[in-house]
Structure formats: structure tokens, C-alpha cells
């Protein structure tokens, strides 16, 4: 009798103190050593400040773009709430940063992504406050930067607009999780094989799972972009994201 009571007590303690594997694709609360938490927060901070400035400037110059900015945020909100099954037998979610990046640039998207991450960290125990800096860097800074570079590159090479949007969203999503793996490998180098061994391990979890999701995210971003080219032509032109071909 005593023993079973003790067991129950131990079980309760385990439940209270062990963070359950919350189904999050971001780095979980407390799972990054303090030094790295501080490091990634410091790295992310200037991007958020510059992003706020960029948003202020855009909205000040053209107030009617506010609604479109809201749309970009809402899109990231929806997509990052969709946890989809993947071919590896685990699930993960899209990031939704591609659209805002294409419309408003990577800096503005940093702020929008940051807001989504705060919401998820505080209300959903998804990601975390101590890992907010690292998660912001991967999802809201690195992802958008890659998406933006690819969008511009395809645009320059004369690729179709929908192809540029698809590839931007695909790689923006994919790269987010490559960075997450990098961050985890830096913080947790393996005893044998060090950083590289850890990186391979983390990449094998996140990256493969992420491929079909990145495709889905690319397709959904093209869908919303297509709708915008029909209904929000003027705004897209103001933001100079319309291809020359579209203006004909």
C-alpha cells in the first residue's frame, strides 16, 4: 500500500517536472543552454529592430498596405498552426513566411514571424521563451532571407512568377529546419564525431520530414499569391513584386 502511494507520487512528480513532448517543431522551452539562448537572442534583436523600421516606413508611405500586411501575418498564423503528417511517420508544420517575405521583404517578415512565435510560446507551450531568440532566427530571419534571395534570383533569371513564389516558399520552409538542426548541433555536439555527427542526426529528423511539408507550403503560397494577383493588383504593383509580364 505504502509502496503504490509512493509510486503514484513519483509518477506525479515526473508529470509535473518533465516537459511532455509538446508537438512543436521549434526548439522547446529550456532545451537550449543559457549561453546559446542569449547568443541567438542577441543575433535576432537587430533584425527585429530593422524589421519594425521597415514596416513603419512601408505603412507610412502607403497606409493602404496595412491590410495586406495583416494578410501576410494571418497567412503565417494559419500555416504554422497546421501540423501535417509526413512520409517519415512523424509530423511537423509549415512556417508560412514565404508570402510576407515576397510582399514586404525579409526584415518585415521577421517581425511578423516573431509575433507568431511569441503567441505559440506563451499560449501553446510550443517553442519557448528561452528559445525564442533561436526560433526567431531560424523561422523569422534565416527562412525569409533564403526565400527572398531565391525569389529575386528566379525573377532575375526570367522564371515564371508562380515558380519563383513556389521555390521561395519551399526553400524558406526547408532552410528554417536546417538552421534549427544547426542550432541544436552547435549546442549539443556529440561526444564521438562532435558537431558533424549531431548535425547529421538532427537533420535526419527534421529535414526529411520537412520535404513534403515544404512542397505543400510552396503550393499554398502560390495559391494565395495567385488570388492576390487578381484582387490586389494595385498593392502588388506598389510593392513592386509584380513581374513585368504581369503588368502587360
Amino acid at each position: 500500500m505504502m509502496r503504490s502511494k509512493k509510486n503514484i507520487l513519483v509518477l506525479m512528480l515526473v508529470f509535473v517536472f518533465l516537459p511532455r513532448p509538446v508537438f512543436a517543431m521549434h526548439i522547446m522551452e529550456g532545451f537550449l543552454p543559457l549561453g546559446w539562448s542569449v547568443f541567438w537572442s542577441l543575433v535576432s534583436l537587430p533584425f527585429i529592430v530593422l524589421g519594425l523600421r521597415s514596416i513603419n516606413k512601408t505603412v507610412h508611405q502607403n497606409p493602404r498596405l496595412k491590410m495586406l500586411l495583416g494578410l501576410a501575418g494571418a497567412f503565417a498564423f494559419v500555416l504554422s498552426a497546421l501540423k501535417l503528417p509526413s512520409v517519415t511517420g512523424s509530423s511537423s508544420h509549415p512556417t508560412g513566411v514565404g508570402l510576407g517575405t515576397i510582399l514586404f521583404g525579409p526584415l518585415a517578415m521577421s517581425v511578423l514571424g516573431f509575433i507568431v512565435l511569441i503567441f505559440q510560446a506563451v499560449l501553446l507551450a510550443h517553442g519557448g521563451i528561452t528559445t525564442l531568440g533561436a526560433n526567431t532566427f531560424s523561422m523569422a530571419i534565416a527562412g525569409p532571407l533564403v526565400a527572398f534571395t531565391i525569389y529575386r534570383a528566379v525573377q532575375k533569371c526570367g522564371g515564371k512568377p508562380s515558380l519563383a513564389v513556389f521555390l521561395a516558399a519551399f526553400f524558406g520552409n526547408f532552410f528554417t529546419y536546417v538552421v534549427t538542426s544547426l542550432q541544436l548541433a552547435l549546442a549539443f555536439p556529440a561526444e564521438i564525431g562532435g558537431f558533424v555527427a549531431s548535425l547529421t542526426k538532427f537533420l535526419s529528423i527534421f529535414a526529411v520530414t520537412q520535404v513534403p511539408l515544404a512542397i505543400s507550403e510552396g503550393l499554398l503560397t502560390v495559391v494565395i499569391f495567385n488570388v492576390l494577383t487578381i484582387y490586389s493588383k494595385d498593392e502588388l504593383r506598389d510593392l513592386s513584386v509584380m513581374f513585368e509580364e504581369g503588368a502587360k
Partner: protein, 112 residues
């Protein structure tokens, strides 16, 4: 001019429907063909690897608030998606109405 626009709009509409169907197929595929998988979060697996690499690692900070159960967590996720989707719907309705209005204004203006 108008028929050209309508054509491209119709084409985009069809492409959009195709793409949405494709997304559904991509998501359903693993569910149908991998019956044994438990589809746990990729982060839970990452946590396993962290423990494997460094057995002594203790998370040094716990979430300030954790949803009381899986159901409550789903509720909050649904809320997040619903808020976003609601705004997207509002925006598109507004943009469509605005385009329609601009078009009819242009129509009535031109003869004058």
C-alpha cells in the same frame, strides 16, 4: 482585353484548385500508406536525440503555461488557425468587392 483577363483569371482559379487538391493528397498519403507510424512531433524525436547525446541535460526552464490537456492544446491551435483564416477571408472579401466596385466605376465613367 477583358476576355484576356478573364481567361488568365480562370486559368489561375483552376491551377489553385489543382494545387489545393495536391496539398491534400500529399498530407493524406503518409496516413494511408504508413499505418504503423504514430506521427509524433519531430521535436519530440529531437528531444530524444538530445538526451542520447547528453544524458545529463536537464531543461533549465519550463513553459510558464502549458495547455491542460491535448484537447486544450488542439483548441488553442484551432483558435490560431481560425483567427488567421478569418482575417484572410475578410481580406479577400474586401479585395473582391473593391475590385468589383472599381470596375463598375470605370465602366460608368468611360462614356462621359
Amino acid at each position: 482585353m477583358r476576355s484576356f483577363n478573364e481567361n488568365t483569371e480562370n486559368k489561375r482559379c483552376i491551377i489553385n484548385i489543382l494545387f489545393i487538391v495536391l496539398v491534400v493528397l500529399i498530407s493524406v498519403f503518409p496516413l494511408v500508406f504508413m499505418k504503423d507510424a504514430d506521427f509524433e512531433g519531430a521535436d519530440g524525436q529531437a528531444e530524444g536525440v538530445i538526451v542520447e547525446i547528453n544524458e545529463n541535460y536537464e531543461p533549465w526552464f519550463l513553459p510558464l503555461y502549458e495547455p491542460a490537456s491535448g484537447e486544450i492544446e488542439s483548441l488553442l491551435f484551432v483558435l490560431q488557425a481560425a483567427l488567421g483564416a478569418g482575417f484572410i477571408g475578410y481580406y479577400l472579401g474586401m479585395a473582391k468587392e473593391r475590385k468589383h466596385r472599381d470596375y463598375s466605376v470605370r465602366q460608368t465613367d468611360s462614356p462621359c
